[in-house]
Symmetry: C2
Subunit: 336 residues, 2 copies
DNA sequence: CTGTTAGCGCGTTCAG
DNA sequence: CTGAACGCGCTAACAG
């Protein structure tokens, strides 16, 4: 059943060292010998034991991915990209989901989980506390963030401020003056800065255009459709003047808002223009204008940088700003 | 930096064997000794090397999860459930994404990937060929399927035929006679039977009610919004009589259809009733009636069964039918 | 080019 | 209750 390297060596009449070298394609092995070893290994169905290899080399050929949730558009797609790249290079992907942005005791992942289990780590859209970051640094595991800047750690992501600003500017360019904002981050931890970056950019862009920033037109969701719809309801029920456009911190919240608008007979874009960020799978079918980003590419690139670093190319891990672009669909138009 | 069991043993003035026993809570260790060892280990920051433990015990404390995609509602949620349960018991989750339902050469995961890397395997909504199944069986790794029946392998999932039948019956009960069907599985592999089960149940339920089954009203998507919308477009452009209701093989496709309907001015539910299966995150905000299932629970239970089996309880892995229930929202109503 | 010899770090008999 | 010694399966020097 379980055939080990010694069995192969015996059968091929060579030493285990030679088998090891032959199988791993190392130089300095007689082609004839290599061929024989390969043949024997093949016919015996030999597969090296990863555990033994790990113990001997100290490398696991495994990359860890730390993620707050997996059931969110950005995370799932970034994961797909990371996985593709890793798999292609024979690396394993060990998934650590925190099941939420919990803090403190709930999140003691650093020690047991990371220790000697992985060669590198991807931190997905997750604000880490400085204590957590410190612990991770101590393990000397190469590390990179994806989807949101993490202080003291390189990462690949879009320029959130620029993207938010461009989205807001699109509304302004269409002629809107009364613009509201549906921001993310209502339940997120302090260290996850993405929602803040987007909100601040929104406000700055408004002011730069000489427009009024109204705090009451600033509602918050948590990046989900459900909370997006709930926040929209709060906004729509505000007395007084109505905004003619709204910038949402994510497409998923924007879609929630659109559902709520439809329920109330608010027409989009006639009564209200809506723009989000992401280019979520639902956005095209729903006709939502958005600032598109490509999480799969983010994941792919991050994994590439990690693998390069592990491959002995120091400095391979660096900050990378990914492209985003406006996709105008049916949800934005000049104000009536 | 790296402190091993020998260091702890030396410092505590005991043998490595005693350290091992003390740390793992085995009986037959003097309480005083245990306390001292624990203290020393603690202060030295000792953490056992997983690689060494694996090699010595032959167990990896890792469960593999095989999944076609991760960026789909069902998979992401089931994964969340699996992860929760695993994490709680100190198990790792090794993710294998196939990035699609590819076949043949593209899918040689069985050997290298599974061999000696995992203690058990979860197969997520993935039809396996009999050859692949055979290979997996040979590894003697406990295995369970989630979300779709896999021949020759126990699993946890809903009764797809029953759920589809109930959804269809809901439309019939409302008084609909002209019912169409948006099925999944257009691009899926033959061995993934879920779409077929649902479609067949739809047809059978129709016939049982004495209603006509019209092949031309049977369009197919691939479980995504995009394809759902595309399929809906094909349906809506058919000449002649229009259906008054439609049963969709998944909520995501149903939502795609709703977007397409809105674009064409087809009112829901006035002109067309729509029901899906899942209770996708978008369904409640969108007001979509559905046959709800709970993938997180599916994943949780599957992981529990696997862990029980690994814990020495043979027969822990068995077939389990999970509940589903009708949630009527705004997308279904009696025909006009 | 190839074989020998040590470890890698821990679990596990088997004596004591 | 505790310790000594061996083995898990493979890689990495170091000879030859």
């Amino acid at each position: 059943m379980r055939v080990s390297i010694d069995d192969v060596a015996a059968r091929a009449k060579v030493s285990t060292a030679t088998v090891s070298r032959a199988l791993r394609g190392l130089p300095k092995v007689n082609p004839a010998t290599r061929a024989r070893v390969l043949a024997v290994a093949q016919e015996m169905g030999y597969v090296p034991s990863p555990s033994a290899t790990r113990l001997a080399t100290g490398r696991t050929r495994t990359v860890g991915v730390l993620v707050p949730f997996i059931d969110r558009w950005y995370f799932a797609h970034a994961l797909e990209g990371i996985d593709q790249e890793l798999r292609e290079h024979g690396y394993n992907l060990l998934l650590f989901s925190l099941g939420g942005y919990r803090h403190g005791q709930q999140r003691r992942f650093t020690e047991q989980m990371v220790r000697k289990q992985i060669d590198a780590l991807v931190v997905l859209c997750l604000g880490l506390s400085s204590a957590e970051l410190g612990e991770l640094k101590l393990t000397h595991v190469p590390m990179i963030s994806v989807g949101g800047p993490v202080e003291g750690c390189h990462g690949v992501h879009i320029d959130d401020a620029a993207a938010a600003s461009a989205a807001t500017q699109h509304l302004i360019d269409l002629g809107h003056r009364k613009i509201a904002h549906l921001s993310g981050g209502i339940n997120d931890e302090k260290n996850f800065v993405v929602p803040t970056l987007r909100s601040e950019a929104f406000e700055a862009t408004l002011r730069r255009a000489g427009l009024q920033f109204r705090p009451e037109w600033n509602v918050a969701g948590d990046f989900t459709v459900g909370e997006g719809a709930a926040a929209a309801a709060r906004l729509f029920e505000l007395p007084g003047e109505r905004p003619t456009a709204i910038f949402c911190g994510s497409d998923e919240m924007a879609l929630g808002l659109m559902f709520e608008a439809k329920r109330r007979g608010i027409r989009i874009p006639e009564d209200l223009s809506v723009i989000g960020i992401d280019d979520h799978d639902f956005s095209a079918p729903a006709g939502l204008s958005t600032m598109a980003q490509q999480p799969v590419q983010h994941g792919l690139l991050a994994a590439q940088m990690l693998l390069a670093e592990l491959d002995g190319k120091p400095g391979a891990i660096h900050e990378e700003n990914m492209p985003f672009k406006l996709i105008q669909r049916d949800s934005t138009a000049p104000p009536a």
